[in-house]
Symmetry: C2
Subunit: 111 residues, 2 copies
């Protein structure tokens, strides 16, 4: 439970930056080298590497260096806890709306 | 587009803290006063108010002070952009897997 909390902290933190989200968007379409990630971002390689470290620490991205090229890949399952957390809030809120709907639909004398 | 990016920054940042997530979880079940939010968190009221400010800036929570009591409510639609952003990454990645599956299922001579 604590671990899951820490994982959510890191995933949401990783996604709270537009450059990191752009990197995740790019990697969702397929693996890329660090230079390929840097190209559309108008950012130095050092800047991209820093963001990459945050993404790797969150588990959202893995990278592997072969020869001179570091290839980055998305780890899609790492998005699941964040997706489930948001989904659970929606369920909780919709359940509350359903109960309100039931209450309002009851005949007046039963209230 | 820029505005949407800034909104996502703030929503993901707001969710990157366990106390703020606990507050959103509590408010998904119904409105609460600041003291009610503070109670299970073992936190000072001032600490809760600080987190509340981050949540309000992200649009996830609204609060209204009537007399001496500030009542906080969830704004569920504010979770939608974050939910959609994660969903779009999943679609993009699943589409890539589908294309890979199609490729692998093709007869050998067509490759």
């Amino acid at each position: 439970m604590l671990n899951q909390g820490a994982t959510l902290d890191r995933v949401f933190q990783a996604l709270a930056d537009p450059s990191r989200r752009a990197m995740v968007e790019r990697l969702s379409r397929g693996p890329a080298s660090v230079s390929e990630l840097a190209q559309p971002l108008d950012m130095t390689l050092a800047g991209v590497v820093q963001h990459l470290q945050v993404l790797e620490a969150s588990g959202l991205v893995r990278s592997e260096k072969i020869g001179r090229v570091r290839t980055c890949r998305i780890e899609p399952s790492a998005l699941t806890p964040a997706e489930e957390w948001i989904g659970a809030r929606r369920s909780s809120w919709e359940h509350r709306l359903d109960r309100l709907g039931d209450f309002l639909a009851e005949p007046e004398q039963r209230k």
